[in-house]
């Protein structure tokens, strides 16, 4: 009997010990804090253009066993005026807003800005990350974003594997996103004339879709005690509706004056001629990112370079440099410089010439190579962007930090018209964009 009882008592003791261990573990789990990261950004363009206010709150918690749950809520409120694609002219230009109600007028010599620009976006993201085996970490995430005329949902998954005593980490990630574009006033047919008032050409109540897929392959390497380097290769494709339903192109006469709308029927036709934006229904892009963190005696340098290329003809280079200067008392100052340069998309046009052949037959002159796509969106043009910023931060305790950053961003383009377009003489056809961003961040645990 004793022989039978003994193992039982051992089993009981083991059970008691393990349950107390489990209880201890559970107790420890209860004590795991929520890590809260919050930020508020205010972005403001000069000349009363776009103002954006963006608060974000992110929560992270170790659910035990190094398994991290993440939640993130983003709000984004936009107001102001946005360029509609038409260029400045030697006369005032009047447009009806996309909703068909109300109009806005650009004075002579000024770039037309759509004053109906207003939107609020809310986005929720959830993520889960955990170890898988001894050397891998896996993560999955989902994201839903909603704004007045746009809905987006995305799923992502990634795996990272450590090598060489955790000095090398290889990671692979995939992200799939689907977007629904539900434009105010409907989706206009590409390269058709801008109308005044409700547009019969718009697809009634119709919406358009876009799907985006991205793959990311990365390697992170500890080079030595002071230097961490990271190399990422990203490959992405998207298919579906890529045009901007609110953007138009000006059609100009040979002297640069605004062309008169050739269509004469209907009282609702705009007297001047503007055509709706038209872009390819697919895009494939690749980028290579090289990031470095270099720890000096106290300070840290963060320097990165990105090369980007896509099949729309856009190539870009981005250089980013930050110097974190630790000046004691757990405080730091971080100057930041960013330089960005891109080439124009193949189908970017500052304006269209009257007489250009379009593939939908509008104004066709029988030319062999009719235009399939055209956009005057300055974001697809050639330009240089520079950012100068300064950040101050103070570490107030474990996982607790307050910081504030002020930055100025300036976009400069040389796009213009030939001297033969005398009606445009003296007009600034591609005005600089200047924006200020103030970002306040506070992180803590509870």
């Amino acid at each position: 009997m004793q022989l039978i009882n003994k193992p039982n008592s051992v089993r009981l003791a083991l059970a008691a010990a393990s349950s107390s261990l489990l209880a201890g573990a559970a107790h420890a789990e209860e004590k795991t804090p929520w890590l809260v990261d919050s930020a508020l950004a205010v972005y403001s363009e000069s000349d009363s253009r776009v103002t954006a206010v963006e608060p974000i709150v992110a929560l992270r918690k170790d659910m035990g066993g190094d398994r991290m749950l993440g939640l993130k809520l983003t709000l984004d409120s936009l107001t102001g005026a946005s360029p509609n694609g038409a260029i400045a002219a030697n006369e005032a230009q009047t447009f009806t807003g996309p909703s068909g109600n109300g109009s806005y007028t650009a004075p002579k010599g000024e770039t037309p800005l759509d004053t109906e620009f207003k939107d609020t976006r809310a986005a929720v993201a959830i993520s889960w990350e955990q170890p898988w085996g001894e050397r891998n970490r896996v993560s999955v995430g989902g994201n839903i974003s909603r704004e007045y005329d746009f809905t987006s949902a995305a799923l992502s998954a990634a795996i990272a594997r450590d090598f060489n005593n955790k000095n090398t980490t290889l990671s692979f990630g995939v992200n799939v996103e689907t977007d629904i574009i539900d434009a105010v006033g409907g989706i206009p047919d590409p390269l058709t004339s801008l109308k005044v008032g409700p547009n019969p050409d718009h697809k009634d109540g119709g919406s358009e879709n876009k799907t985006v897929s991205d793959l990311l392959l990365g390697v992170t390497q500890v080079m030595n005690r002071h230097w961490l380097t990271q190399l990422n290769l990203s490959v992405g494709t998207s298919s579906g509706y890529h045009s901007d339903p609110y953007k138009v192109l000006s059609v100009l006469n040979t002297d640069g004056s605004l062309s008169t709308n050739p269509a004469t029927s209907g009282p609702d036709l705009n007297s001047k001629w503007y055509l709706y934006d038209s872009r390819p229904d697919s895009r494939s892009r690749q980028s290579l990112y090289w990031g470095n963190k270099i720890h000096l005696t106290e300070d840290v340098i963060d320097v990165s370079y990105r090369y980007y290329t896509d099949d729309w003809g856009i190539d870009s280079h981005t250089l980013d440099f930050r110097y974190r200067y630790e000046f004691g008392g757990n405080m730091y100052l971080e100057p930041h410089v960013r330089w960005y340069s891109q080439t124009a998309a193949d189908f970017y046009h500052l304006y269209l010439n009257k007489g250009v052949a379009l593939d939908n037959g509008v104004n066709s002159s029988g030319a062999a190579s009719a235009l399939d796509y055209a956009s005057a969106d300055s974001r697809l043009g050639e330009f240089t962007g520079t950012t100068f910023g300064l950040k101050y931060g103070i570490e107030l305790g474990r996982n607790t930090e307050f910081n504030i950053r002020v930055e100025q961003y300036q976009q400069t383009s040389n796009a213009g018209a030939p001297a033969s377009m005398t009606a445009l003489k003296g007009l600034d056809l591609s005005p600089d964009l200047t924006a200020m961003t103030v970002l306040v961040g506070y992180s803590f645990e509870f």
Partner: protein, 74 residues
């Protein structure tokens, strides 16, 4: 696609290079690497806001991670 191939070759090259024992640190030399300021993305919310801003003002996106997206701003 040749760009992709070149980038792949570069990544493989770095991976092979990382196999060299001269790179990296011993576990007890990770003091600096453990600091927040030395993490590849030390301030993820700041990066997210920057990615969103640049995504809405420039034609490029991504690189550091899956940048931009989820926004009708471009």
């Amino acid at each position: 696609m040749s760009i992709t191939l070149k980038c792949c070759a570069l990544l493989v090259g770095i991976s092979l290079l990382s196999g060299c024992s001269s790179l990296g640190v011993k576990p007890w030399e990770r003091d600096l690497m453990a600091k927040k300021s030395m993490q590849p993305n030390s301030y993820p919310l700041e990066s997210a806001i920057d990615d969103h801003t640049y995504f809405s003002k420039e034609a490029s996106a991504g690189g550091r991670g899956f940048g931009g997206g989820g926004c009708g701003c471009n």
